[in-house]
Amino acid sequence: MRRTSIPVVAMGIALACAAGSGQAAEPKRGGVLNFGVVAEPPNYDCHGSTTFALVHPIAPHYSLLVKFDGKDYPKVVPDLAQSWSVSPDGMTYTFKLRTGVKFHDGSPLTSADIKASYDRIISPPPGVVSIRKAYYSDLAVETPDPATVVFKLKNPMAGVLEALASPFNCIYSAAKLAQNPKYPETEIMGSGPFTLVSHVRGTSWEGKRFDGYFDKGKPYLDGYKAFFVKSNAVVPGIIGGQFDAEFRGRNPSEKTQLLEKMKDNLAVFEGTWVNNLMIVFNTTRKPFDDVRVRQALSMAIDRWGGSDALSRISILKFVGGVMRPGYAMSLPEAELVKLPGFSKDIAKSREDAKKLLADAGVKDLKFKLLNRNVAEPYTPGAVYSIDQWRRIGVIAEHEQLETKLYQDRVASGDFDVAIEFQADFMDDPTAQFSKFLTKALSPSGYSGHTDTKIDAMYEKQRRTIDVAERTKIVREMERYALTQAYNVPLLWWQRIIVNHKKIQGWYITPSHYLWQDLSTVWLDQ
């Protein structure tokens, strides 16, 4: 049986980057990049959004203070900031800004614009929705001069730079925000490498090069056009020449179809994805309030075998805990396999699971597995889990609902067991643990548990600036979460990008939210 290990994953990413990035060749100017986006943003406001459907077409119009490095994730590199320093106590971050940066309307970008944008995120004015308000609530922004921004922390906070590198923290014009704080919902006016040409709702989004972009010589493209298409229209779209790329991800079968049809004209990028499919037990319902039952259900699942089988037909691939396998703070595999549900000896694991169920006095367990009716990867993940539970005599009935109905049921706690997913733009534990917490601390603590120990550990890691110390806490928290099994990750996703090989300068990262400003992308044609 094939085993997927972390070094292989890392190598996969590295090979893909080296093969497809075009590092060896000199970038060429010109051309228009056409790509597909499998959803469309409701409006244009980064601060009120959570979707990649906004990032892919809109990120090229905006700059960030700092951003993740596409070539060296999770390193944070300057964008509008030229450099920064952190005070010894870790409570003050001082950013020196680039000079001469202009917005698309020609007005200069200064520290006032950074402050206005972050103030809008931290304390949104009436009528403005800020999704990540709580995430930045410990920050206060000061502007000692037009070229300096200071972030002062009210409390110690880990991962500040990573949080500031969020692709959703677009920098808006302070002057325009003063006139209308809601302008970003309906208008594009940033300082990114491309300006907006048109948005035909339901069809396309078009941008053209911003000649006043601060990074001289970039962008290389004359422009880009994003087409809003259904997911199943991506493969025909690439083969039929409608567009040349799609940056979210395809499944193995689609990769094969594209390779069969277009042979040598494609570049394939593969790696881990900061997304996983997880099983949520409703701990407010019996018998899922019993840790033995939850552990037994997790232990019945052969994740290692599932990785081998499911990775051939779906984007489910990597075995991991709460943190993405391969990430610096995740539990090493040697430790992970000791936790319930992650053993490689599945026969013994299932025997233990049966004993746990017997100890808990649970016989002939039957329940409904709530899922959304989205095929990839939810259906294969659920079908596999149901089959695995059958092997310990547990019967699960698959109940697939439309996303909006599914969301209602999960949020209201109207389910036995549900298939959920975790997705964010970065690996930071503060983001990754949000679904493992109590409802008091996290709106997506869908399991309904009231275990404040995990909340306390979460808060502690969030306030621990020392990386080694924080890693220790995170790993302890991961061990605890996987042992209590309120939620258990099934498998982590594989990100497969299949683009036309003429597209150069694009790098795969573990997140489909990152490195999408297209400033480094060029066409070899």
């Binding site: 409701p42 009120g48 069809t203 259904k230 039929g240 439309e402 996303t403 109905l405 996290s442 709106p443």
Partner: protein, 317 residues
């Protein structure tokens, strides 16, 4: 006649008010929350505070009677509210998609009429011959094959044979006729085939029935040419039920486009309907239902008026 048309048009108003009231309340019985779909469907841990802020921004925090009052007050001004998803006016969202859907529907209707009348006539004239059998097989296939499946076959055919698909996006016919037809001809053909099949069968059976009428037999007995009998007497009478079918099918076509537009990635009314329903965008669904109801009522009116033109006996005074 004019009074009849005016009376029918006036009757449209209470019909549409009834539809508007029914759809407003029925749609709100549906489970699902557009705000939750908008903010949480991508997996983010969005706070209840943000959810409530968005709900307030969209006016969903108002009591139902207030929302109903606003909605009904807007109707006479053709103000259907704003899309809960995009924030754009519902009329603007619909107007953007109308041209392409309407063009596809017209093209499908033309394809249907141009195929159905000659094929149905030939089939009836050569009843039980190989021509008749062939036409019937083609017609039954049209009924049996779902439009969206035919659409998929067309796409697969284009990809397999030419590695080509038409460009995404709609260009008006007068700006770029070839570009326009390259996009619209395929969905029009796939829905038009079924449409043509229904009308062909109706044309055939209607003509066969008319051909058995006494006045046709009398004309034949008098030695009138078959072609003249067909043109002067048979076809016109046989067309009555065909017109009904073509009219009704046209109204149904908008519904039929729901799936076909998805297949061809056409940004039309059908795709908008699917998206609005999936997201729980009440305002947009209400607007679309009203639009389709209006089309239905108007098409029925046109069919009734055509009756009078085709058959003077039922002409209204």
């Amino acid at each position: 006649m004019l009074w009849y048309v005016i009376r029918r048009l006036i009757l449209v108003i209470p019909t549409l008010i009834g539809v508007a009231i029914a759809v407003f309340f029925l749609i709100r019985v549906m489970p699902g929350d557009v705000v939750v779909v908008k903010l949480r469907a991508d997996g983010a841990a969005v706070s209840e505070e943000a959810i409530q802020a968005e709900r307030k921004r969209l006016g969903l925090d108002k009591p139902l009677y207030e929302q109903f009052y606003d909605y009904m007050l807007g109707l006479p001004r053709l103000d259907l509210g704003k899309s809960l998803w995009t924030g754009e006016a519902v009329t603007k969202e619909i107007a953007l998609r109308m041209p392409v859907s309407f063009q596809i529907a017209i093209m499908a209707a033309l394809i249907a009429v141009l195929i159905a009348i000659p094929l149905g006539t030939i089939s009836a004239l050569y009843r039980d011959s190989w021509i008749d059998h062939t036409v019937r097989v083609v017609a039954v296939s049209g009924l049996a094959i779902p439009s969206f499946w035919l659409g998929m076959l067309i796409i697969l055919g284009l990809l397999s044979l030419f590695n080509w698909l038409p460009k995404i996006g709609y260009v008006p016919f007068w700006q770029d006729p070839i570009g326009n037809l390259a996009v619209t001809i395929w969905p029009a053909a796939s829905v038009g085939y079924r449409y043509a099949a229904v009308a062909t069968r109706m044309m055939r059976s209607s003509l066969l029935e008319v051909m058995r009428e006494d006045y046709i037999r009398t004309a034949r007995a008098k030695g009138v040419w078959t072609r003249l009998i067909m043109r002067r007497h048979a076809l016109r009478n046989a067309l009555l039920p065909v017109v009904t079918v073509v009219g009704l099918e046209f109204a149904f076509l908008i519904g039929g486009l729901v799936v076909t537009e998805q297949v061809f990635n056409i940004n039309g009314i059908g795709k908008l309907f699917v998206d609005a329903t999936a997201r729980g965008d009440f305002n947009l669904i209400q607007g679309l239902v009203l639009l389709i109801a209006t089309i239905f009522v108007l098409v029925n009116l046109i069919v009734d008026l055509l009756y009078g033109w085709l058959d003077p006996r039922i002409r209204l005074t």
